[in-house]
Subunit: 360 residues, 2 copies
Amino acid sequence: MQTFAFNFLYLLSIQMLYIIMSKKQVTIQDIAKELNITASTVSRALNDHPKIKQSTKELVQNTAKKLNYQPNSIAASLRKGRATTVGMIVPRINRHFFSNVITGVESVLNPAGYNLIICQSEESIEKENENINTLIANRVGGVLISISIETKTFAHLERVLSHHIPLVMFDRIADELDVSMVENDDVSGSYDLTKHILAKGAKTIAWIGGPRSSNIYQNRYNGYKKALEEAGINPKAMTCFEGSITLDSALDFIRPFIEKNKNNMPDAIFSASDYMAMGVIQGLQEAGYKIPEDIMIAGYSNEPFAELISPKLTTVDQFSEEMGRATAKLLLEEIEAKNEYIHKKTTLKPKLIIRESTDK
Amino acid sequence: MQTFAFNFLYLLSIQMLYIIMSKKQVTIQDIAKELNITASTVSRALNDHPKIKQSTKELVQNTAKKLNYQPNSIAASLRKGRATTVGMIVPRINRHFFSNVITGVESVLNPAGYNLIICQSEESIEKENENINTLIANRVGGVLISISIETKTFAHLERVLSHHIPLVMFDRIADELDVSMVENDDVSGSYDLTKHILAKGAKTIAWIGGPRSSNIYQNRYNGYKKALEEAGINPKAMTCFEGSITLDSALDFIRPFIEKNKNNMPDAIFSASDYMAMGVIQGLQEAGYKIPEDIMIAGYSNEPFAELISPKLTTVDQFSEEMGRATAKLLLEEIEAKNEYIHKKTTLKPKLIIRESTDK
DNA sequence: ACACAGAATGCAAACGTTTGCATTTAATTT
DNA sequence: AAATTAAATGCAAACGTTTGCATTCTGTGT
């Protein structure tokens, strides 16, 4: 037993013993002392610097493992002036669309050595502003944002830029700002969808959606309008409703609507949100309408429930993960380019998904 | 115009001009020079230290605003030895349950001055291990984790503890570890659910779910078993299926199952996952079965689609946001307690949600 | 006017890296 | 063998805070 203890101790250097006894964390200094070299060399060895001998690198790596060294990226960030962390602000993380975008972003950023701080604005500009502050305080390497519904001014985003932190907007963008962006071609998506409904024989198509002060819903309206005008139909004559993008808000709209228009219902309702489409469907089914026989319904976003419900919902898929990847790639480009001007705009074409709710 | 420029310059100190011209960031040193005091005082003033005069605090705050100062929490973290950041590892962020837990966690952690780094393990122990490494490298103030399905050993979690970083487990926990945890009482949830189905007149109830090597599904099985045994029914005689918790996996199970058992179908199927319940429902509807008339179906988790589908799905709600809040609170306790031993376990009772799919 | 306590501020080191430049060591040429 | 070049490592400062201890103020009681 004594022999074992002796052998055990013999294998350990004084340095190692010291580290194990004290609660202090292991640093590159400790590795340096252990090997009688400098911290500089250790640092370069760990970062695979070309000027360090291969044998030294291996020595350092082994000692690092032996001492159970864990790099301190806070110290590195302080020295380098920026963190290997990227901030991402979304209105709500539990929206399927956004959590998929996040997944896409991570699939590009993690391999590049970055990780994400995720913030929720909860559709409030104040919260968004606070989020920006914590991200700046954390000296993130970049900021990815999809702005809140409330956001109409952009001083907080300009603060990000003034700290030389690259900014990329996605989905809910602001053309006022001169930054890289990734957007969905909502005009094209809703244009295709409306054409499809027209092809199915509809003459009157009502439109409902979120507030058109938001680019998103304005564009989803514009595509719809364009298709109608091309078909020689006056969109002004159609019913439109703008409200909060929830099932309940749509239900509150559709019930009195049915009451008022029971002898004069449209052939189809295009809801620029799947959630609102759900409300519309429930309201219509309550009132005894058959979908799509009596009235066709289409949504937008391809929420996961769209293919689970009955009738399965025709909608537009937005390739959310792809949007995340595109956003992350633009950010990496900006980071690489340092301060050079390379602001780009990527537009993703969405895809029409035809299901039962318009399949007359 | 000249007068204006002169007045403008007059209002600015040399210090301010210097900062505006150069691209360097504003530090507490700059504020200090501006006011002819030391950085120490500025630091204390900004952190509302009791020994600083009120008038000084105001002076400092005003100058900070004037110079457009943004605190550098990386520097603060380095000095303090830990970041105001908390790491959270979940299998998948786009699972509704997890994104709601995240929301709950943030609602407690943000007001306390922390923000979240979110990592996805994607149900892989290797990825989980990498996640742990980046969180340790970032010297997070704590780690919250729901382990992956694959995770059977816990060396990586012990590494977290050896760095004196508090760890709290939630939902998918490991009783082997001596840390704080928050769990759902899955036994009670599935016991209540099974009792309900029995009360509706079922004599035979099949069980399907994820692998019982995971605590979660073992417990959801145990509650089911307990209710059956209490009713004098032998659970061994019932059909059980363990597979991946997806709609498709359940569909692959149910189709041949129907084929084999068409003259001998159970009265009900309890799926320990809402996703699998969806597959079961689709398979049964395909084959012409009516739910709940011919066969009752129940799920587990109360996914958002559960109340949107037809028939609406009976399931068990897990108060996911509440679980997030509970988890975050335990973490804060651990952080406050420094190294004192206060490992606690919180158990949340889930709630049975009865809907059409079992409402015979 | 003096000592004294308490309030307010200053001093200086520390946190763990990274990195430009200087120096040493090894390899190559003359 | 000396001189030259290239390869490898060392030196020291810097990043922006925080904080224990020391020092300087301010006002109070004698």
